[in-house]
């Protein structure tokens, strides 16, 4: 009787509790990697003086932003951005990719192998899912943010601003993956989540046109990116929604409930 309330306890040889049928140690290992590796990558790329291999980004694109100072050409010249706009680099650093990838692995490790069995105990499963989901999203994020607090004298270093950007954008990517896994389960959900994150990066031009962007850009970019002020609000809403969905489905995927 008492065993049902303890995490991972055995009753008659069968593991019970939310972690039964999942890989908690693998998930913990991935969370630790998601906390440590982006910091290492950010420090290493910040110390690169010029084009070293380990400082290469994962993806390098550009976004067209409205710019009152943009040079105007008539149609005879083929420009990178349409009239009145200039191009601003949109970079996905390796640190962000590592953060999002390890968080995604942790989420996949937490998906159950015995979803129908858990159906019997869904209320209790949900509480544990809430805790685990919040932990996967927040632990690496808070740890990275802690590392970006500037020291008592001076401005944040380049490594710290890189890490801050990577952690914030990585959090959004991880939330999108969590959203996908909560909707479609471990396999297809991973595909959906990764697809959503890629669509987010690819549609930055359209988002800028609408005035709100789901990615953070460096602060000293010229011309300034519109909508950066509301990023914390949008990211918070997205994160809360993803955790909510993950909790409601118990990290099992909605499609599994249909069976």
């Amino acid at each position: 009787m008492g065993g049902r309330h303890r995490r991972g306890s055995k009753r008659g040889g069968i593991s019970v509790g939310w972690l039964a049928g999942r890989n908690p140690w693998a998930a913990l290992a991935f969370i630790a990697l998601a906390a440590a590796v982006p910091f290492l990558l950010a420090s290493v790329s910040a110390s690169a003086t010029g084009g070293e291999i380990y400082a290469r980004p994962a993806y390098y694109g550009y976004v067209c932003l409205p710019d009152p100072h943009a040079v105007v050409f008539n149609d005879a010249v083929h420009t990178q951005c349409p009239q009145g706009k200039s191009a601003v680099p949109s970079v996905v650093p390796m640190a962000e990719l590592a953060y999002a990838a390890f968080s995604a692995c942790a989420l996949v490790m937490l998906a159950p192998l015995m979803p129908t069995w858990e159906r019997l105990n869904l209320a209790r499963v949900r509480w544990r899912a809430l805790a685990a989901g919040t932990g996967v999203l927040m632990l690496p994020f808070l740890f990275s943010l802690l590392l970006t607090i500037p020291s008592s004298h001076g401005d944040p270093t380049t490594a710290q601003s890189l890490l801050r950007l990577a952690a914030c954008n990585g959090l959004v990517d991880a939330s999108l993956v969590m959203l996908g896994i909560a909707l479609l389960g471990r396999f297809y959900g991973l595909g959906l989540g990764v697809g959503l994150a890629v669509i987010n990066i690819a549609s930055q031009g359209m988002q800028v046109g609408m005035g709100l962007t789901l990615r953070l850009y460096p602060e000293d970019i010229k011309p300034p990116v519109p909508g950066q002020g509301i990023w914390p609000a949008i990211a918070a809403v997205l994160t809360v929604f993803a955790v909510l969905l993950w909790t409601v489905t118990g990290g099992r995927g909605m499609i599994m409930d249909k069976k």
Binding site: V72, F73, D75, A76, V77
Partner: protein
Amino acid sequence: MARLLNPLSPLSSLVFFLSMMAYPAALSVRNYGVGRSDASPWVLTDAALQLDLTWMHLMTDVIACMFGAWSAWKACSPRSMVAPPWIGGSAVRRYGVPVLKGAALGSLAYAAGCLPAIVQTLRFTGGSVPVGALLMGMAVPAAMFALGYALGAIMGSRWSLVPATLLPAALCWGSVFLLMPRTPKGDVFPRAWGSPLAAAMPVMDTGIGAEPGLSINPSAVTARWVLVVVVLAASTAACILTAHRWRPGLSWIVAPLAVLLLVPTAAGGLVAMSGPAEWRRSAPFTPVCKSIDGVPLSVCAHPDDGAHLRRYMRYMRSAASWFPKDSVEDSSGLVLLLGNAFTPTTHGQAWNLTDQGLTELQHLGGKKIQVMTDTVTERTGRYSDLADVTQAIVKEFVHADCAATALENVYKQRTLDDGASVSAFVLEQLPQRMSETAYEALGGGNGSSGMGSARGPAADLLNDATDEEFHAYVRRNLSEIERCAVTPSNVIDDLGKSH
């Protein structure tokens, strides 16, 4: 149709075919102005089309590998109930046929996606179909399908889609971000150009731009397709090894993985060592040269480079308008050579031209400067911006020896004292203003700020003048400026009264 595609599933083949086609087709439509009423500024040259054809297959590669894994994991794995390996028949046929069919589908999807770009370019430039470049691009999705298929058969689970996405992505990322282009040192640019790795890796920036007369080396195409055949064979062999050696546990996996990964790598290394260069530059050609009336200024370009020639003629007409008629006749003149096609291939040659072209160039006389319009090299890097060209024009046509010392101090002096400092101040701004006016001739540009550190009534008038006012001023007073005969009060009288 289903029987034609057997054993690939027709529905998933259709879905994957459309997604493989989507990205190149979207790029073709967006970058080539397909469907616009006036597409001429958007149509790229033959050389640019060839460069694009070797680049646009990046997404298609990843999707082809995913298609391979998706087709294989259910039907071909030993764990499968649908087509277990003990079904009779030749193993080569059982695994080789789907690999070949899928590879063909991947190549066809890429070719179909690039069709809008090819048709649009042929309509507007009248060149021939870039078969070599298209074959270079089509090769990679074929190889990627085979790779994915073998991964699916080996892993036998739908999670094989994960390495089937990550492996081609890593390969493409590595070839784009880790392999840096080179430029040749010095004054010559070889006829055959390209890193030896370019035939083996999916994409590579070899450092050559869209030069007119660029073509792809047929040996590179052959080398890449030989590599593709090796990959197809290795994948089929890996599938057969999986079928024959599968047993519980993991010891069986070594042989198929080794064949799948090591054999193509070794073949790629051999291809890279034999090193066919990917690109061939223009053969010696006879340039098309046009001269500007009134000043000894000419522009020469490759016959296929009409768009750049027209644009630079407009710039040079604008630059020539700064000099009053017959004011620069004594100068030997300046000839602009557009682009890297002119760079000689050996040290013995002056330029990459036919004998007729060389004599034509000699007849034009004057100083030759080579402007960068396509490939970045050490040689053309000196004249990469229009301001560099206008600076050469000013240096060649405006002789103000009396202002030489003042020019050295133009960023140190506080006010304009005498005629020499005024001339230096004007001459320092002149190239920048000329290039801006030239851009405005094309509808672009905005105002400028002055250059030089001097301030004061005369200097401020010069700095605040618009490009038109400055233009008119220089035209009126060019000979006085050359003789350093303009004093600051002359400037105030001349420019001040027009305000």
